[in-house]
Symmetry: C2
Subunit: 499 residues, 2 copies
């Protein structure tokens, strides 16, 4: 199955002589683990977005950073594209390999180098799993805040590349807000440090620029993340609503009341039923929508906030508000939410997970719009998302074996993202652009902005060898896609064009 | 008086025919307020760093964004450099004008365009004063968190340009952490929007890149800032110590105890005495150092934290711990701190304010190092700073009328910044690089890193017309300065140079 797969990127790349490259790699890096047979390459043909598949030319699995450096120098000299990959859990095809390129797997760099209690940071290799950092910091009562649903498996290097989020990023920020320093190798194989151990680094903020750049600006070799003290206590409220719009409005009401929950998640009826069937979390299956609101901090504060949130929820029309009575129930409430994707996978042969972000105040209107699109296209859409920060994950249910459904799923997905852009939001919250949403970038940005993105890319990688064809579309592609966005398109003083 | 003034920047710029440019501007922009006489230009010859002065060629004070756009288009066409300026309160000479350039004063763009309670943001013009945003948001119980000491006067556009901080940035972050969106004009006079109203914008994070870029990447035309709910209550503890090192260690202990104060400031004896003489804040003048620790949030939480912090302080060897008994005393405690710079100005004919950042754990050692340098150079140094985030502001006291003191002040200032870099810190925390610290950038970054900065600059401004000579040194300058930093300088595999 291939949704939207686009061969133009590979087609535009220079032909590489695989046999000669393999021979040279073996000669120069005799200890480097290289996969080259069709059978060995097969498992690497996609990342977490399995709808897109390409067989990489070669897969390399280095164990020493010096091997990565040598590999990059060689690839740079030979003009061979390189796609870096962590655990391969990304959902937008950011680590999709190239037929004419090397897939650089960083998974073996899995050492935690330092946990510093006083400085509250962890220094780790890029292949370290997200959750492993919090586990290593736990003896010091510290943890690493960003917690994507894939945190058991996903690597911190990939988190940096995609600027990963999670259910707690409303309060604790995305990956970029939780980094101190990233060491990278440039496309030329030079070491460089972005950020510092201190508050702020002078010059341009290249650390923030690099975070979320999807492997296009350099290869992560080491990451220094901030650690936070574990909250004394965490409580979860579950509120049921008889309409998704009421639930959407309640989200805004909570924030407007001056409360910043640790997490604030929403699920609609389809998602509630699927999750309940799968996990038996104790969700009210008759509800049109539920909110899960986690409050964390010191005991007295949390108790106070729970009361205030309960009041807001009741005033917003909740038909039921339940406080998880103990830690076991709290974990159960979250298990339902965190397993909502696989739960939906049980009720539909295929589903397509979107990731759009909207200003919080637009939630009720956008939910209504999605319901209308669902009706129009005849496909069910389950909504499960980070309501607090307006990061939506509509799941479009379809059956790829029914002729036309795949195309309709693609079409409604595109429409939903365009709706997000229209209300002032964006086409991705935390999953990245990758290969999946490259066309939608044309709707998000105008040609000046896209040109600037390319110029920034060229500042790091003038040869364009790092993960080509992802994240930033060419203007040519946008013209073909026919959705070049024009804003501020009217020059207020046309006569100035003369200058 | 001119510390470190460097004429090479102006010298390297193309000569501009002032009379012809003035005539053309008047013809094309008849309504634009232009200053051109020596008398009118005089007040604009420096920003808050008065040691550096240059008379600008022309000063323009636009009132409509379209005038800015036209001006930029004209300057771009004619190759005329442009330096943007807000309120001119910057402390690193970032808005220092050019003899061969236009000083673009954005102060008249002082309208608050929107305060959005539900979305918790304010949309303002760039010339709006920092404090005015919080004042406008106050009726909604919201405020804008970053609070530089100059907040009565400094403008939000300048805050964006310098990524301004303040006493609360330990808990609430720098300017970059409190922005949603910035509208800019490019050097070519094109409008562009960086960031979005939503959580995250796809593509590269140009908003973060732009923040702190010191007017080198574009001109801010509108800023959308995040607003936070005002804390229910704020309390301040004052702790006295018989050594600065003990106070420095106490800072780390508070953070290690899992408490994030709203503000955590330190002053040494010289600063305490100066402030007490000036403000009568009630400081213990015999103490070698004091810490001011503000705790804010909901009532119960703050009371709890106050007790915990008191315990930590006592354990760390505080000779006295005092809780401000009421709001009046709390304000008094802060007034002493916020007026420490002018207070020091009363006890010395001249002082030179440094702004370095270090990892928090290095505080005791760096304070000892500063004391040794003070001894060695025979100049008093007062320390007043944001201890919580390791952002130091040593004030070097000197008398410019005593031969040699100015040079020694410069020399010790440079040594202190180098000490910051040596322990893993940086040469600026919140004041920016500007013209002042451009040589120290050569100590902070290696040639690859500086080359990358220039490439990023060129992506936005290939003609180099926006604020040339600030922030990023040329490699040539670094070679002359003789302090080119080399790290990772040893290529692990020299033979790879063959590629």
């Amino acid at each position: 199955m291939s949704i939207l797969y686009d061969e133009r990127v590979d087609g535009a790349l220079p032909k590489v002589d695989k046999a000669a490259l393999l021979a040279e790699l073996r000669q120069r890096l005799p200890d480097l683990d290289i996969l080259h047979t069709q059978e060995d390459l097969k498992p690497y043909e996609c990342d977490g977005l399995s709808a897109y598949r390409t067989t990489p030319m070669l897969v390399v699995l280095p164990e020493h950073i010096e091997q990565v450096q040598q590999l990059l120098k060689l690839c740079h000299a030979r003009g061979v594209p390189v796609v870096a990959r962590g655990a391969g859990t990304g959902l937008s095809g950011g680590a999709l390999p190239l037929e004419q390129g090397i897939l650089l797997v960083m998974a073996r760099f899995n050492q935690i180098l330092e946990i510093n209690r006083e400085g509250r940071f962890a220094r780790v290799q890029p292949g370290v799993r997200n959750l492993a950092i919090s586990q290593a910091a736990a003896p010091f009562d510290l943890y690493y805040a960003p917690d994507p649903s894939s945190q058991i498996a996903c690597s911190i290097g990939g988190n940096v590349a995609e600027n990963a989020g999670g259910v707690h990023c409303l309060k604790y920020g995305l990956t970029v807000h939780n980094l101190l320093k990233v060491d990278i190798l440039t496309v030329e194989g030079e070491f460089m440090t972005l950020g510092s151990d201190a508050l702020d680094a002078p010059g341009f903020d290249l650390l923030a620029l690099f975070t979320g750049s999807e492997g296009m600006l350099g290869i992560v070799t080491e990451v220094t993340v901030k650690l936070l003290p574990k909250p004394q206590v965490a409580k979860v409220l579950l509120a049921a609503f008889d309409s998704v719009e009421k639930a959407g409005r309640a989200v805004g009401d909570i924030i407007a009341a001056g409360i910043i929950p640790g997490g604030l998640e929403m699920m609609d009826n389809l998602a509630i039923r699927a999750a309940e069937d799968f996990i038996h979390a104790g969700y009210p299956v008759e509800a049109e929508a539920i909110l899960l609101c986690e409050l964390d901090g010191v005991e007295a504060d949390v108790a106070d906030d729970c009361e205030r949130v309960r009041e807001v929820l009741e005033k917003a029309g909740a038909t039921e508000v339940r406080l998880a009575r103990d830690e076991a129930e709290r974990v159960k409430f979250w298990a339902g939410r965190k397993n909502a994707f696989p739960a939906v996978g049980r009720i539909s042969p295929d589903y397509y997970c979107m990731d759009g972000t909207i200003p919080r105040r637009e939630l009720p209107g956008v939910l209504r719009g999605i319901a209308e699109l669902s009706e129009e296209y005849g496909l069910r859409v389950a909504n499960v998302f980070h309501a607090g920060d307006g990061n939506m994950h509509p799941l479009i249910l379809f059956d790829a074996n029914v002729p036309g459904e795949l195309e309709r799923a693609e079409a409604i997905g595109g429409k939903i993202l365009e709706l997000c852009v229209k209300v002032g939001g964006s086409i991705t919250g935390e999953h990245g652009v990758g290969r999946e949403k490259i066309n939608q970038m044309c709707a998000q940005f105008n040609s000046d902005e896209i040109t600037l993105f390319h110029a920034v890319k060229a500042a790091f990688d003038p040869s364009g060898l790092l993960n080509p064809g992802k994240n930033i579309p060419t203007l040519h592609r946008c013209a073909e896609f026919g959705a070049m966005h024009v804003h501020h398109g009217q020059l207020p003083f046309p006569e100035l064009e003369r200058f």
